[in-house]
C-alpha cells in the first residue's frame, strides 16, 4: 500500500484545511516503513502535543497535504528517523520539549535543551522544575587523519548563536555537524493560553528575517482553526508584504556571498520602502490573525514600486557578476536524491545553482509586485476571530522555503502550537552539502541556504 493510502486509513479528525488522520502505532509503523521506500512523499514537520505526535506530509505530485498523528504509549512513539534521517532533528526536539521518546530513533542526543532551562520537558503535561546546569554538547568524533574545528556558539559576522563542528582533512570539510538550541526562547510555551491575536507577536518574533512569512502562516492557521475569512484588501496587502520580504531576504543572502555593497544598497532600499508603506522596516506585526494590523500608508505603493524597479534594473548586472565567480560552480553540491529526501528538491545542485535560483526568484517577485500594488481592492482590513474550538494548519512562502504553523484552539485560546521554520529542512541540507568544501568557504555555503537559527530554535 502507498504511504498516502496508509495515512488515509486513519480516522479523520477535524482540522482545517486538511483533515488530520489518526493512526494506531501499528499503522504508524507501516507508514514509516512505506516512507523509507516511497521517495514521493515529503516530510514537512513533526511535532508533539500532550500525549500525541503529529507529522505533516505532502505529496508533491498531487499537492495533497496530509497531517497525521499517533498517540504516545508510556511516553514512546515509533520513529520516523530510520526512514527519513532528517526526522531525527524533529525527534530530538520533541523529546526536549514534550518528553516523548522516539522508539529506536536514529539519534537520541538533545537538540534544543542544553540543560540550562528552568524546566524539564516544558511543554509536557507536567513539566519538572530543574536547577539548570548546562552540559557540553556531544559531537561525532573525528576519524583517522581527521581533525576537528569547533566553531561557536559565539560566532563573528552578525551570525546567530550555534555550534558548528567541522571535521576536516587538510583544508577540506569532511563533515559538518550543527548543534542548535542556544537561541531557544520558549516561544511555544509563551503562546499557550493566549488568543491568536495576543500570540501573534510571538509568531512575528520566531525569525526576524522571515517575520512576515511566520506571521502569515500563523494567521492562516488561526483563521483556519476558527473559521474566519480575512477580507480581500487584507489578503492583497499580505501578498505585497510577503513578496517584499522575500525579495529583501534573497538580497541579504546574496549579499553575504558576493557584491555586498550593491546588494546592501538594494536591501536598504527595500527596508525603507517597507518602512514607508507599513510603518516597520521588517514589517513586523503588520500581519495579524484575521487580516492586517494597519492599512498601507499614503505613498507606500510608490515607495515599494520605486525600490522594486531599482531591484529589477539591477538583476541583469548581478546575474553577470555572480556568473563571473568561478568558485561558486561545483561548491557545496547537494545531490538531487538527497535534496528530495530532505524535502528541498529546489535546492539541489551547487552554490551557483542556488544563487541563480534566488536571482530568478527576485526577478519573478519584482515583476509581480507592480501589478499587485495597482490591483489593491478597497474594503475592511480585518475580520474578527470568533472564540472557537478547532484545529488549523497554515503555510506561507518565505525567501528560504515554506513556513508551517499548526494551532489547536480551545474556546478561542491556544491550547497547543507548533511552528515549522524552513530551517528544519535547511540545516540537514546544509550538513549534507558541506563535505568537500574548503573551510574558508563555509560562510558562502551557509548563505546559499539562508537557514535561520532562531526560527528552528523556537
Amino acid at each position: 500500500m502507498r504511504c498516502a493510502d496508509i495515512i488515509r486509513t486513519g480516522v479523520a479528525v477535524p482540522c482545517q484545511p486538511w483533515p488530520r488522520h489518526l493512526l494506531d502505532a501499528a499503522a504508524w509503523r507501516a507508514m514509516a516503513a512505506s516512507l523509507a521506500s516511497d521517495p514521493t512523499l515529503d516530510l514537512l514537520a513533526l511535532w508533539g502535543d500532550a500525549a500525541m505526535v503529529h507529522a505533516l506530509l505532502r505529496e508533491p505530485a498531487t499537492g495533497a497535504t496530509l497531517p497525521v498523528s499517533v498517540a504516545t504509549e508510556s511516553g514512546f512513539y515509533p520513529t520516523l528517523s530510520r526512514a527519513r534521517p532528517a526526522a531525527a532533528w524533529f525527534e530530538r526536539m520533541i523529546r526536549d520539549l514534550w518528553g516523548h521518546h522516539a522508539e529506536d530513533g536514529r539519534d537520541s542526543r538533545p537538540w534544543l535543551d542544553h540543560g540550562a532551562w528552568a524546566l524539564h520537558a516544558p511543554l509536557s503535561a507536567r513539566p519538572v522544575a530543574v536547577a539548570g546546569q548546562p552540559e557540553p554538547p556531544e559531537f561525532a568524533p573525528p576519524g583517522d587523519r581527521q581533525t576537528q574545528i569547533p566553531l561557536g556558539p559565539v560566532l563573528s559576522g552578525f551570525a546567530e548563536p550555534a555550534q558548528l563542528r567541522l571535521t576536516v582533512t587538510g583544508d577540506r570539510v569532511a563533515r559538518l555537524e550543527a548543534r542548535l538550541g542556544y537561541a531557544h526562547k520558549g516561544t511555544l510555551s509563551l503562546m499557550r493560553g493566549k488568543s491568536p491575536l495576543a500570540a501573534a507577536r510571538f509568531a512575528a518574533r520566531l525569525s526576524g528575517d522571515t517575520t512576515v512569512a511566520h506571521s502569515l502562516a500563523f494567521a492562516r492557521a488561526a483563521e483556519a482553526a476558527s473559521g474566519a475569512v480575512p477580507p480581500p484588501r487584507a489578503i492583497a496587502l499580505r501578498t505585497i508584504m510577503a513578496a517584499t520580504e522575500r525579495i529583501a531576504g534573497h538580497l541579504s543572502d546574496l549579499g553575504a556571498i558576493a557584491e555586498p555593497a550593491a546588494l546592501a544598497r538594494l536591501r536598504e532600499a527595500m527596508a525603507r520602502a517597507a518602512g514607508t508603506a507599513f510603518g516597520h522596516r521588517l514589517m513586523m506585526d503588520a500581519v495579524v490573525p484575521g487580516g492586517v494590523g494597519a492599512d498601507m500608508a499614503a505613498g507606500g505603493a510608490e515607495a515599494i514600486g520605486t525600490a522594486v524597479a531599482r531591484v529589477t534594473e539591477a538583476v541583469p548586472a548581478l546575474r553577470r557578476a555572480f556568473a563571473g565567480l568561478d568558485g561558486l560552480s561545483g561548491m557545496g553540491v547537494l545531490p538531487p536524491d538527497v535534496a528530495r529526501a530532505l524535502a528541498v528538491a529546489d535546492l539541489a545542485g551547487d552554490v551557483a545553482a542556488r544563487v541563480a535560483a534566488r536571482l530568478g526568484s527576485v526577478e519573478h517577485l519584482a515583476a509581480a509586485l507592480p501589478g499587485l500594488l495597482t490591483a489593491l481592492p478597497a474594503g475592511p482590513l480585518r475580520a474578527d476571530l470568533p472564540p472557537a474550538t478547532g484545529e488549523g494548519i497554515g503555510a506561507a512562502e518565505s525567501a528560504c522555503g515554506e513556513v508551517f504553523h499548526a494551532l489547536r484552539l480551545e474556546g478561542g485560546q491556544i491550547a497547543s502550537a507548533f511552528a515549522a521554520d524552513p530551517g528544519w529542512r535547511l540545516w540537514p541540507a546544509l550538513e549534507a552539502a558541506a563535505p568537500g568544501i574548503a573551510v574558508a568557504d563555509l560562510p558562502v555555503l551557509v548563505a546559499s541556504f539562508g537557514a535561520s537559527v532562531s526560527g528552528m530554535d523556537l
Partner: protein, 176 residues
C-alpha cells in the same frame, strides 16, 4: 565621467541626552583611554535575528561606519564595545560572560533592542535569564524592535563623542 559623492546615509547631531547619560555612567569608571575609534563585536544572545538584519545593514555600504572610526571586528579580543542583541537565553548566559571576559578593558556593553534591555516579549520564559544586564553591566541601551540602523548609529556616535571628549580632557588633544 564626473565624480559623484558616494551615497551614504546623512546624519544629524548626536543626541545630547544619550551623551549625558553616558557621561554620568563613565564618570564612575576610572580609566578611559581610548582614541576616537571604537571596535565593535556584535553578539546575539538568542534573539530573533531581526536586530542582526538591521545591524548587518548598519555595517554595510549605506551607513559607512568607518567614516566615524567605528569598525566591526571578528573577535572579542579585539573589541572595545560588545553589541548585545536578543534576550539573554539561559543557554547563552555562560558564552556571553566568557565573551565579555575575553575583551580587554576599558570596554563597554551596548544593549541593542528591547529584548536585550529587559528580555522584551520573552520575559518570564523558562529559557530566558532576562536582558543583557542579567549578566553584564550595560552602559547604553538602544530601544526598538528592532532599532533602525539610524537609531543604532546615534547611540554609537554618542559613545564616540563621549570617548573623544574624555580623551581630549586628559591629553589636551583630539575632541569633537
Amino acid at each position: 565621467m564626473r565624480w559623484r559623492r558616494p551615497e551614504v546615509e546623512p546624519v544629524g547631531p548626536v543626541d545630547p541626552a544619550t551623551t549625558k547619560m553616558l557621561a554620568e555612567r563613565l564618570a564612575a569608571a576610572s580609566q578611559v583611554r581610548l582614541g576616537r575609534s571604537l571596535a565593535l563585536f556584535p553578539l546575539a544572545a538568542g534573539g530573533c535575528n531581526g536586530c542582526e538584519v538591521e545591524l548587518r545593514l548598519l555595517a554595510g555600504a549605506v551607513y559607512a561606519l568607518e567614516r566615524f572610526g567605528l569598525s566591526v571586528v571578528a573577535s572579542p579580543r579585539h573589541a572595545d564595545v560588545l553589541l548585545l542583541t536578543g534576550p539573554l537565553t539561559r543557554t547563552m548566559h555562560e558564552p556571553v560572560l566568557r565573551t565579555w571576559q575575553a575583551m580587554p578593558a576599558p570596554k563597554w556593553v551596548v544593549a541593542i533592542g528591547d529584548c536585550a534591555i529587559d528580555g522584551g516579549v520573552f520575559r518570564g520564559s523558562y529559557a530566558i535569564s532576562g536582558g543583557a544586564d542579567a549578566a553584564l553591566p550595560v552602559d547604553l541601551s538602544i530601544r526598538g524592535c528592532p532599532p533602525t540602523p539610524v537609531q543604532m548609529l546615534e547611540g554609537l556616535r554618542a559613545l564616540l563623542a563621549l570617548n573623544a571628549a574624555e580623551k581630549s580632557a586628559t591629553t589636551g588633544i583630539g575632541g569633537g
